[in-house]
């Protein structure tokens, strides 16, 4: 009953991890690479974790009591992935933009202009406080 579900999760995990790594190589600049790698790899890893949780649940259901632990811990691993991965990707993208890398073939970068305006204002305010 639960076996086709596990096999489907394994297949989805393999397909999406492969797509993420291919995207990491085929896209032209940092932001698109980050987009492909993070989204696809997170999705694939979540499905690998779901497959493990389902396997543990199946074993537990058929009377193998030790595998109940595996299901609970796999769900915790899923939550950890789900919370930490997008946050890390956001930090990387922000740092890349702050370090002056513009997207390839970009025509206009409004965030950069905006940051220049507010940044200079903030710097002046800071100077006023110091003096």
């Amino acid at each position: 009953m639960i076996e086709p579900l596990i096999l489907a999760c394994v297949a989805i995990s393999m397909i999406f991890n492969t797509l993420g790594v291919i995207g990491l190589h085929r896209f032209p600049d940092v932001y698109t690479r980050l987009h492909a790698a993070t989204k696809c790899t997170t999705f694939g890893s979540i499905f690998a974790t779901i497959a493990v949780a389902a396997y543990g649940f199946g074993q537990w259901y058929y009377g193998n009591a030790a595998y109940g632990n595996m299901t609970a811990h796999a769900i915790f691993a899923l939550l950890a992935l789900l919370i930490t991965n997008p946050t890390g990707a956001h930090a990387i993208a922000r740092a890349a933009h702050l370090s002056g890398i513009s997207p390839k073939r970009a025509v206009v970068d409004i965030l950069e202009e905006d940051r220049k305006k507010t940044g200079s204002k903030k710097r002046e305010e800071a100077k006023g406080v110091e003096s």
Binding site: L34, A80, T84, G100
Partner: protein, 93 residues
């Protein structure tokens, strides 16, 4: 339906290891520093997935706990490297 699931999960983790090598290639080739960091982040996620699947392959539940700790530590590493990039090349001077 009679599937040898530890073998299936062992195959999945071996496949993820191959993907890790391909992702590390981007870290070697990557022209800028953020490219290498993206490659590192991808490898970290794949390592977590591999550890969780190896738990079924080797029938060791403790591998899942190690995967949780690895996920949290790699998250802190990523945040720290991002902070370092901002300090090194950024406008926050």
């Amino acid at each position: 339906m009679n599937v040898d699931f530890p073998l299936v999960f062992l195959f999945l983790s071996a496949y993820s290891a191959i993907l890790m090598l391909v992702a590390a290639l981007r870290g070697v080739l990557g022209p800028t520093l953020p490219d290498r960091v993206v490659s590192l982040d991808t490898i970290n996620t794949l390592v977590v997935a591999t550890m969780v699947t190896l738990a079924v392959a080797f029938k060791q539940i403790i591998y899942v706990d190690i995967a949780i700790v690895y996920a949290l530590l790699s998250f802190i590493t990523t945040l720290y490297i991002a902070k370092y990039m901002e300090m090194k090349m950024g406008v926050g001077k």
